[in-house]
């Protein structure tokens, strides 16, 4: 899809500059915990300082890395007509699936059962995504039921046999298998990967680092991912989480550009919140998370780095009207915020734990509605995007047999109002306070407890959205593209 207007901006340029400066402060002062000698040597050779198990990265290294990141990335496909180019300065948006569910939901007369996902399910889902019109690329949606040492090759075989779209294999298990994977799919240009390099807060996953360098060394595009959870692995404060998450993704960019200058990377920041209202689980699709993920996309655009967005990971355990509403609002904001290559989590439910074939078809419809409603917006300002999100959600619900009433409309309006509302100051004082908090938290052996205790004030101030579930029976019998499931 193509954006009609300039992307949504919820921060001023000055505020983004402040976030950047604070992230650089954190990278320089707190640094990242790392053990991998190859990484330490590579970064120290470029000016980083390694002391007491942490590597500090000066701001000059960040600026140099950002300058060498390519602004465009070509994603090729076995079917040349499916190839596309992501342009960090452009308005083209490409949607794909999300990855790594453990279970498949199967429906029997309206009752959903959860089954462990396997290779056959993966074949079925990849094949289904090949047929869905709004899926531009396929990110491996689930695990295979094969031994870990066969996983990379098995995934590659399933992709090569079932799709002609660009292939994002998500995680690489064994960097030593990369050449075999390339041989199976036929061309490295068809491939891309996601690497979660940093575990929040600010700790490098040493095995992920080896994978990242192996992939980028081949010139294969890689999405450098960090998924912080405010309140447990990052400050609950939006400002604090943005500073920390941005630092974590920037570190990945610095590392890749230090070792393989000019290698294609995408900025993949997923700053969500933890459910401190109950058990601390991630809140993927709640209004405050939708807002923060949109802010991450905005930060990425500020840098002019290609952006891998995330949307539509519903917190609902099975397909439901609530899930439809979450996905529609989430995708609308992520598209409007200007992410160009979006893991729009087609089919995903249950906080990335499950997928349902029917949900893929529903999400394909939602994507079409989001495109249509954003196309009608007069501008991508907060009001225009909010209206598009509500309209897309309501139309999706109507097509699924829901009579949308005033209460549902009010709840949707309440959610988008929350997404649009800033709860904190983006002042220099606020940034200073948060960067200090992050630096002290990472020194603690139990940083998650530090973040949780530090969240009490924000919880009382209402930083986590508390709304109402949208309840109604879900009828997918009339879904236009239901035949895709056959």
């Amino acid at each position: 899809m193509k954006l009609k207007h300039q992307p949504l901006e919820m921060m001023t340029t000055k505020e983004k500059e402040r976030i950047h400066a604070s992230s650089c402060f954190v990278l320089d002062q707190a640094g990242l915990r790392v053990k991998n000698a190859r990484i330490i040597d590579a970064l120290v050779a470029c000016g980083a300082i390694y002391e007491n198990g942490r590597i500090s990265v000066p701001q000059s290294m960040v600026e140099n890395a950002l300058e060498s990141v390519p602004g465009t990335i070509r994603f090729r496909a076995p079917d040349p007509d499916r190839s596309f180019t992501v342009d960090a300065a452009g308005k083209d948006v490409f949607l794909g699936t999300g990855g790594q569910a453990l279970y498949v939901l199967r429906s029997n007369r309206g009752v959903w059962t959860r089954q462990p996902a396997g290779c056959r399910d993966l074949e079925e889902i990849v094949s289904l995504c090949q047929r869905l019109s709004k899926v531009d690329f396929i990110t491996r949606p689930m695990e295979c039921d094969v031994a870990l040492d066969r996983m990379d090759e098995e995934k590659a075989r399933i992709f090569a046999s079932n799709t002609t779209k660009p292939m994002n294999l998500a995680n690489l298990i064994d960097p030593g298998k990369l050449s075999k994977v390339i041989e199976i799919v036929g061309d490295p240009a068809y491939l891309s990967f996601i690497v979660c390099l940093v575990t929040s807060p600010l700790a490098v996953d040493d095995t992920a680092a080896d994978k990242l360098l192996a992939i980028s060394g081949q010139g294969i595009p890689v999405c450098i991912s960090s998924c912080s959870q405010a309140g447990t692995t990052a400050p609950l404060s939006e400002v604090g989480e943005m500073i920390q998450l941005n630092a974590e993704v920037l570190f990945g960019i610095v590392l890749v550009q230090a070792v393989n200058p000019g290698a294609p990377v995408l900025y993949r920041g997923i700053p969500i919140t933890a459910d401190l209202l109950s058990d601390g689980s991630p809140r993927w699709c709640q209004p405050e998370s939708i807002r923060r993920v949109a802010l991450a996309a905005e930060m990425c655009r500020y840098y002019g780095v290609p952006c891998c967005g995330t949307a539509g990971v519903s917190d609902e355990p099975v397909p439901s009207v609530q899930a439809v509403s979450e996905k529609a609002v989430s995708l609308t904001y992520q598209v409007a915020a200007g992410a160009q290559y979006i893991n729009s989590a087609f089919g995903m439910l249950d906080r990335i734990m499950s997928v349902a074939p029917e949900q893929y078809v529903i999400d394909n419809m939602i994507a079409a509605l989001v495109e249509s409603e954003l196309g009608k917006a007069q501008a991508f300002d907060e009001r225009g995007v909010a209206d598009a999100a509500v309209a897309a959600a309501k139309e999706a619900m109507v097509r699924l047999g829901v009579e949308v009433d005033e209460l549902m409309d009010r709840e949707l309006r309440s959610r988008v109002a929350f997404v649009n509302t800033r709860k904190e100051e983006y002042s220099k004082e606020s940034m200073d306070s948060q960067q200090t908090f992050i630096c002290s938290a990472v020194e603690s052996p139990s940083s998650s407890l530090v973040f949780m205790k530090g969240a009490r004030k924000g919880l009382r101030a209402g930083w986590l959205y508390i709304g109402k579930r949208i309840e109604a029976p879900l009828d997918i019998s009339g879904l236009e593209s239901k035949q895709e499931l056959a």
Partner: protein
């Protein structure tokens, strides 16, 4: 200051989740005031009966549990209170006579090899400490051999294994196998973490699956009841 007043202040500090003077407490008003740890030290200095202090810990946590169940307290509030008790217990313990009889059991916990995630582990560890268990936390990314060695040394009643990644949850099975190979059959193994489940626990031979920290507390109590024939 008399004993009653001293104990009341400790109770208030625990219920407010005021760990130390740098902590803001439940309502954000307590920064700069002496925390639970300081109050326990003060109480011991003026010869307040350690057993009475221990009783206050238990009573306070019961009150916090009720506030959590009623929805007035949220997870961070309860954790802060549990941390108060856990930290204060380290100070109180050397002063208790016949201290073992108040301990509910020994709990060893670790995030398995290859996994750097510690949220669930830390919550469980803190809550169990607050609930009166003697907890040893081995940290994150802990190898099978290190876990088994720690079991031999610490001799826990329970072993908690945590994993957040689908690629690391398999390490849990390796730990259980290694324990059996080493002839260690008297430790109950509990697992937890987003990708794990009751079914997975059964499959790998764990004694139980805990979906969260409170579930872990309930599960341990169930197991202890079963062991003691209650």
């Amino acid at each position: 200051m008399n004993q009653e007043s001293s104990l009341d202040r400790i109770r208030h500090s625990i219920v407010m989740g005021h760990v130390d003077e740098n902590d803001e407490g439940f309502d954000g008003t307590m920064e700069g005031e002496p925390g639970t740890v300081d109050l326990v030290r003060e109480a011991l200095d003026v010869d307040v009966n350690p057993q009475e202090i221990l009783n206050i810990f238990n009573e306070s946590m019961e009150e916090v549990g009720k506030l959590f169940e009623s929805g007035k307290y949220l997870l961070p509030d309860m954790l802060a209170s549990a941390e108060c008790v856990g930290n204060a217990m380290d100070i109180l313990e050397p002063h208790l006579v016949g201290k073992q009889e108040n301990q509910k059991g020994k709990f060893l916990i670790a995030t398995v090899k290859g996994d750097l995630h510690d949220i669930g582990k830390n919550i469980v560890s803190t809550i169990l400490k607050g609930a009166g268990y003697q907890v040893k936390d081995l940290g994150i990314d802990v190898s099978v051999n290190d876990i088994v060695a720690a079991v031999k040394e610490f001799k826990p009643d329970f072993l908690g294994l945590s994993a957040l990644l689908t690629t690391t949850m398999t390490e849990m099975e390796a730990v259980i196998k290694k324990l059996k190979e080493a002839g260690i059959n008297d430790v109950k193994v509990l697992i937890g973490g987003a990708p794990t489940s009751e079914e997975f626990a059964l499959k790998i031979g764990a004694d139980g699956y805990c979906r969260d920290a409170l579930h872990a507390v309930a599960k341990l109590e169930q197991m202890q009841d079963a062991l003691s024939g209650r």
